[in-house]
Symmetry: C2
Subunit: 468 residues, 2 copies
């Protein structure tokens, strides 16, 4: 690969996007050189802001010919470093692809460009009485294209699934500049290999998504939100599997450790009174169109959690209260970040294994001398583990913590789980991939990458480990 | 490829599976040489019935070394010829992989071997209060492994999704005899390329599935089933999209043309009185745990369909009545088959396009001189088109019908649909793949096939067109 771009090639790139959409200044390159992943900054040699799939195709043809790395950049909210330009080269900001092309009310579908902000999309379809469920915590700033790239989830995934469950068809620019559609605009499809699902979650390493066709659901009218304080964190985890066993599928089932909520209460203006002895909370939502059913389901959930050692359940009575509780939950990552340097892991296990995962993480932390704040989508078995630097020495942070992370992932995989539930592998987790997959399977993935990108120019150094 | 197997290699195969699981007699080979696809018979040179993944691995190593084609064979209910041994070689019957390994009531998951009959699986989990929704019409005899291979759907897909939406993780024997797991037993997974979803629907061309981990749902207790007779078939199709627009997601929404129901009534013992002028029926089910909600949803559906020209709605009052209506619906394909030589297409479009698809199919039939019987999962936009030979000449059947099928698929794709919703491409549809995908995309699929199966020995001559 060529990390340097010759003046001649730079001229070709400028001719493609126009001079106002090519940026060489340090400030812009630095701005686009980071996402939300720890404190990494990898600026591109040049930042481009193309406006059409055809412009991207032209850029890719030039990059392919000269073997220049190209890194697609979305909303830069990623937590695994998927958008970092680790080999410099071309940073390809997708931000001009920001149109909702068509909300198809007849077929309950939407065609959207990748730089539409997830919340904007959710609100636009809601205005038509429709529902796009995936709601990552960063929904106010992340791009739907990034959600596709990372197969993002969010709080509602427990009932409604993740991004992949809504993607029907994708327009994709391949690394060699060819443009394809991966499938059809249908709810069912058994026609050839599922390139659509292969593309979802491939973190911008196989192609650049330029249009997305997604399915929608009819909107729900009602929900009930309850916050359940537990005096024991492992019991909160145990309650999660019991709720499903009782036959209820909540629309959200979130877990927050005591530290997560304490740190966040200092960060956002939400007032919740919490007894000192409370160790964890479950935030539980049920939704639907029939209030009586929701009351019945909330009652079933109450019966389950009351078998554990809990404090009084808080039912959110108003929309304001609901919004406050969600703000609290969504701000945890930012709150931790504002407190300390940290690393965020995105462990996921079968949900009944959560108590074992949580206990194991804490004892691994003790062994290697780090503290962790755990929270996340417990209904999916998806536990975010924020490892905080606090007063650890730099030396311990760089030598001991990676060993601890490796043990956490080994524990996760031994519980039939895996490395990432919804954040992706990207740059920061790639060298743990050998824990989740044997060399044969990694070779298959590498083979697929080579089919799409024989020269290895598209988002290089991501997903697959350095040595495959 | 070697279609002939030397005595020495045959000895190696016998040593692997044991003499009682290797079959060379014509009757067995012929029996395993066909599925439910038209009247095709392609017997293997030898039929093997291995008992473990390791035996399959050993067989694949021998086959790979000697470049002998291997065709995995499941319940032989396929409608696209995916299990036909078109190059003879080894037929690999999976029938001994018939155990439900573990129903995990804590995590709402099941681990199952591929030769478990779908209905057996559904009933086994139902006994534990759990629900495996996909229910292809052949569920009484098809294998769950075949469902995975073809990404099978069924009547409940409209609300609950298809097979792919339940598969979490797969144990797979690769063409070179290596054994891998594709993912993890988790509801969410953003860890590397999605090999699980790539394997689902790949029709046994990339690997041989030996274990399947699937998610389950809590069982629903109630349902309401209604049969709505329409005096105009296109109006029945129009009503489908309107039902969703009214905010109801039925658990089944099936369409049957008049001919489909008439032929089937002669084939199964079910009594339904139908007025002469009725041209089509919708069979509509809603399900859930709250009878009041189901009554409300049935009422909403009634309000929608009453805007069209319909006869009296029949509500199934008893389980017997419900079973009779479902028997009627499920027997359509067999009834048509018993009446005439036929070809079955599995068209799928966005559901609002159904009236245009139906009208188009009829006029294409007139142009080429064939009659068709249409029915299927209208809620998904999935219309099965049975083209019946009736009194067509053999000459017209072999020359005109393929032209008509090509036009039907071109129409389907022009409506943003595709060739197959749930039956797969297999042998009989492969040379129509150029209608759904451009040469670039087909080359990507061929590249993926080569990554998994460089020698092209596993289920050769399926899915991809003869010329890519």
């Amino acid at each position: 690969m060529n990390t340097q771009i010759s003046p001649e090639v730079m001229g070709q790139l400028e001719a493609i996007v126009g001079p106002s959409f090519l940026f060489l200044d340090q400030a812009t390159r630095r701005e686009y050189g980071h996402d939300e992943t720890e404190d990494y900054v990898f600026p591109p040699a040049v930042l481009l802001k193309p406006g059409t799939p055809e412009e991207i195709a032209s850029i890719m043809r030039v990059a392919n010919q000269h073997e220049i790395p190209v890194t697609p950049i979305g909303g830069r909210t990623g937590l695994s470093g998927g958008a970092l330009c680790i080999f410099e080269g071309i940073g390809l900001s997708m931000e001009r692809f920001n149109k909702i092309i068509h909300i198809d009310e007849q077929n309950l579908q939407v065609m959207v460009e990748p730089a539409v902000i997830t919340q904007v999309l959710r609100e636009a379809v809601a205005e038509k009485g429709l529902f796009y469920p995936p709601d990552p915590s960063s929904q106010g700033s992340c791009f739907i294209g990034g959600n596709v790239a990372e197969n993002a989830g969010g709080a509602r995934a427990v009932k409604y699934g993740v991004t992949k469950d809504y993607v029907l068809n994708l327009e994709v620019v391949l690394p060699n500049g060819q443009i394809i559609w991966t499938g059809a605009n249908t709810l069912k499809n058994s026609t050839g290999y599922n390139l659509t699902q292969l593309m979802v979650g491939s973190e911008g390493t196989l192609g650049i998504v330029t249009k997305i066709v997604m399915k929608l659901l009819p909107a729900n009218q009602y929900n009930i939100l309850m916050l359940v304080p537990f005096f024991d964190a492992a019991q909160a985890c145990e309650a999660v599997a019991q709720i499903f066993k009782a036959g209820v599928v909540p629309s959200a089932l979130e877990f927050m450790e005591r530290d997560a909520i304490d740190w966040t209460l200092r960060f956002v203006e939400v007032s919740v009174a919490i007894k000192d002895a409370v160790q964890a909370h479950l935030l539980i939502e049920v939704d639907g169109n029939y209030p009586d059913v929701l009351f019945a389901e909330a009652e079933k959930i109450t019966q389950v959690v009351e078998q554990f050692d809990i404090d009084d359940i808080l039912f959110a009575d108003t929309d304001d209260q609901k919004n406050a509780l969600w703000r609290l939950r969504r701000a945890v990552a930012e709150a931790v970040k504002s407190n300390s340097i940290y690393k965020e892991e995105d462990t996921v296990v079968p949900r009944y294994e959560l108590p074992r995962l949580l206990t194991g993480i804490k004892s691994i932390g003790q062994k290697y001398g780090f503290k962790s704040v755990c929270y996340g989508h417990a209904g999916d078995g998806n536990l975010h583990v924020n490892i905080v630097k606090g007063d650890m020495t730099d030396d311990a942070w760089t030598t001991e913590v990676p060993k601890g992370i490796r043990e956490i992932f080994e524990l996760t995989v031994s519980l039939k789980g895996t490395l990432s539930g919804e954040h992706g592998i990207g740059y920061v987790q790639k060298n743990y991939m050998d824990i989740a997959f044997d060399p044969i399977t990694l070779q298959l993935m590498k083979g697929i990458k080579q089919v799409f990108d024989p020269k290895g120019i598209l988002n290089p150094g991501k997903v697959l480990p350095d040595r495959v």
